[in-house]
């Protein structure tokens, strides 16, 4: 979680300095979800993600340097500089890929789960999505299809209440209830406090236990705060949008603050935590320097990889 937070804090400055020419959707505030869920996965389990991909990528063990290189459009990035922030991939840790079209990764994750079952591999696929994506038709279709085929699939809805700048209250009927929807499709469903690592990981573990036992797909909804604006590393409080999830309230329930308190309770000292933070920041800055010194793709590379050879 610390790596996720520090990495994006450092990347903010790169964006402001106009060094980062990729559309970015920062994960700041939502770290406990990615890390909480991935902490319950085996190395062989697969993860698919969204436009807000950095956190899931790092939580599954994706390479930091290749991520930063990708954000800076360098040829040694995760997608050799061709994808940018929204297209993270690290197959060596079974991070299958992230794709920004809302809801699009959900049936893809079902397909990855389908292959696990088809070839009797025994792994689980996880598909992350936001509350906005969870409103796409293909997601409701996938609930039914995945249930029909009894797929080993965990779908995680990170509900930060915002779809770009549209609040959940503007987007849903008054009686909309995802718990009832999941029940209607016959899917086990749990709701977690997405700011709280322990709550997320406990509930993910419970659902994963059922999935691994052959119980078919399940849905985990995590209530979180998106600290920053939709697609810039800036606060959007001044636009007057954040009437309920004010900055004050977000900081009060911030995932890193809760985690820090947990660590102290478990016996870590402030000095130890500070050392860890500094070591993490050094690691991130090293990655940024490495990326800055890395080459851009050559012009010819525009024409490669259209097809797999």
């Amino acid at each position: 979680m610390l790596l996720l937070r520090v990495a994006e804090e450092e990347l903010v400055q790169l964006y402001l300095d106009e060094k980062l020419f990729s559309m970015v959707h920062f994960y700041v505030g939502q770290e406990a979800v990615g890390v909480g869920v991935c902490s319950q996965l085996n190395p062989d389990d697969k993860v698919l993600s969204t436009h807000r991909s950095h956190g899931h990528y790092l939580a599954k063990g994706g390479d930091l340097k290749r991520m930063v290189c990708e954000l800076l459009g360098r040829s040694n990035g995760a997608a050799r500089g061709k994808g940018g922030s929204m297209h993270m991939i690290d197959k060596s840790v079974n991070f299958v890929g992230s794709t920004p079209l809302l809801g699009s990764a959900v049936p893809l994750a079902a397909g990855v789960a389908f292959e696990e079952k088809y070839n009797k591999k025994g792994g689980v696929a996880v598909g992350f999505m936001g509350d906005g994506a969870s409103e796409e038709g293909v997601v409701y279709e996938t609930y039914n299809l995945a249930a029909l085929y009894e797929l080993p699939l965990l779908l995680v809805i990170e509900n930060n209440t915002w779809s770009v700048n549209s609040n959940i209250n503007e987007r849903r009927g008054k009686k909309y209830d995802i718990a009832t929807i999941a029940k209607g499709f016959g899917l086990p469903y749990l709701r977690a406090d997405g700011n709280d690592f322990n709550d997320v990981s406990t509930k993910a573990a419970e659902l994963l236990k059922g999935i691994r036992a052959g119980g078919g797909p399940a849905v985990l909804e995590c209530l979180v705060y998106r600290h920053m604006a939709h697609s810039t590393p800036l606060m959007d409080d001044k636009q007057g949008l954040r009437r309920e999830d004010t900055l004050e309230r977000r900081l009060e329930r911030d995932s890193m603050k809760l985690m820090r308190a947990e660590l102290v309770k478990a016996g870590s000292t402030e000095a130890e935590i500070k050392d860890l933070e500094e070591a993490t920041r050094r690691e991130v800055r090293e990655a940024i320097e490495f990326a800055k010194a890395s080459p851009y793709p050559q012009q010819e590379e525009m024409f490669t990889d259209v097809f797999y050879e």
């Binding site: 050799r80 061709k82 293909v138 279709e141 797999y308």
Partner: protein
């Protein structure tokens, strides 16, 4: 008659059976495929019970699931019984499958076959018979083929099953009943090469799918002038094999394209555009024959005038050769019922 004279639907079925027998990663998914899919999957559910999959009526999810499983290493054949239904899965075909390897800088193969049916037949009308060839042809990352005969359909499907990329096979249902001798062998037809069906000296006619079939019929109306026509079957519309066309037009000096869909932004327009830009030495202005730029109407009294027929194609050729037109009224059966000809 040889027992190897197969209909297009049977040839597709045989290819599917052969690739499934050889490669356990191949499965077929689509609404109604266990029930036969127009004859193209007849009996396969009994032979491969776990690999012929019926689905909810959810095109986006079933297509996305297939794409995801291809990314994970399987080789699905997705069947959409009308091109209109495949549009409900456009994100998964155009934006996910077609971009996956590129956007991840060589992220890995997406071996998947989209078998999408163009529903040309009497009474199908505006929402069941669109022939959206150019839509698929214009998306980088897709290989798009259009079979014009049973033997070609079989060879293309087998080649697609050996390819590691998304291949769209747009199948004109109009041609499901035509027959041809088809080899039992597991042969391949290249996915990116046009075929010169007949060599000729004075005019190049380019078609694909049911347009190629009709153009072939048109040649029979030309008498002694038939041999002056070089007939080219595009086979693939993504990519288009321009080199074969340009070499032909260089020789003949005349180019006629035939599309059985709207003329605007058509494959024929693309062929003519590229030929014009390549200085192939035209002796006459190239011409594109296509359906008018209105939706395909439902009643036979109107659809009769929508599709190019063998008579309109023959007359376009005759006009370009400076010869008199022929006057021939086609019977109702030939205009509106799918052909059952043996090639």
């Amino acid at each position: 008659m040889s027992d190897r004279i197969l209909k297009t639907a049977d040839a597709i079925r045989e290819a599917t059976d052969q690739v499934m027998a050889k490669d356990p990663s191949v499965y077929v998914i689509g609404l109604g495929v266990p029930q036969g899919a127009g004859g193209t999957t007849n009996g396969l559910k009994q032979k491969y019970p776990d690999r012929i999959l019926d689905t909810p009526t959810s095109e986006a999810a079933l297509t996305g699931l297939a794409v995801g499983s291809a990314i994970a290493g399987l080789h699905p054949i997705v069947h959409h019984d009308r091109v209109e239904f495949s549009l409900l899965a456009a994100d998964q075909i155009f934006t996910q499958a077609a971009k996956w390897n590129y956007m991840f800088g060589g992220g890995g193969p997406v071996p998947i076959i989209f078998r999408i049916v163009i529903g040309r037949q009497w009474g199908n009308g505006p929402q069941h018979s669109q022939a959206l060839y150019s839509l698929f042809g214009s998306v980088p990352g897709l290989k798009v083929v259009v079979p014009s005969s049973p033997a070609m359909a079989k060879g293309l499907l087998i080649a697609a099953a050996r390819d590691k990329n998304p291949v769209v096979m747009l199948e004109s249902r109009w041609l499901y009943g035509i027959k041809e001798e088809v080899s039992e062998a597991m042969y391949q037809v290249p996915l990116d090469k046009a075929q010169v069906v007949q060599q000729g000296s004075d005019i190049t006619v380019v078609g694909y799918g049911d347009a190629l079939y009709t153009a072939r019929q048109a040649l029979e109306l030309l008498g002694e002038h038939k041999k002056r026509v070089e007939l080219i079957d595009l086979v693939s519309i993504n990519p288009i094999d321009h080199a074969t066309i340009h070499a032909s037009v260089q020789k003949t000096g005349r180019l006629l394209t035939v599309d059985t869909t709207n003329g605007a932004f058509s494959v024929g327009s693309e062929v003519i555009s590229k030929a014009a830009q390549s200085r192939v030495g035209f002796v006459d202005a190239p011409r594109g024959l296509a359906a008018p730029d209105v939706p395909c109407p439902t009643p036979p009294s109107l659809s009769e005038f929508w599709y190019p027929t063998k008579v309109t194609i023959a007359n376009a050729i005759l006009e370009m050769l400076g010869l008199p037109r022929i006057d021939l009224q086609l019977p109702f059966e030939e205009l509106h019922l799918p052909p059952t000809t043996t090639l």
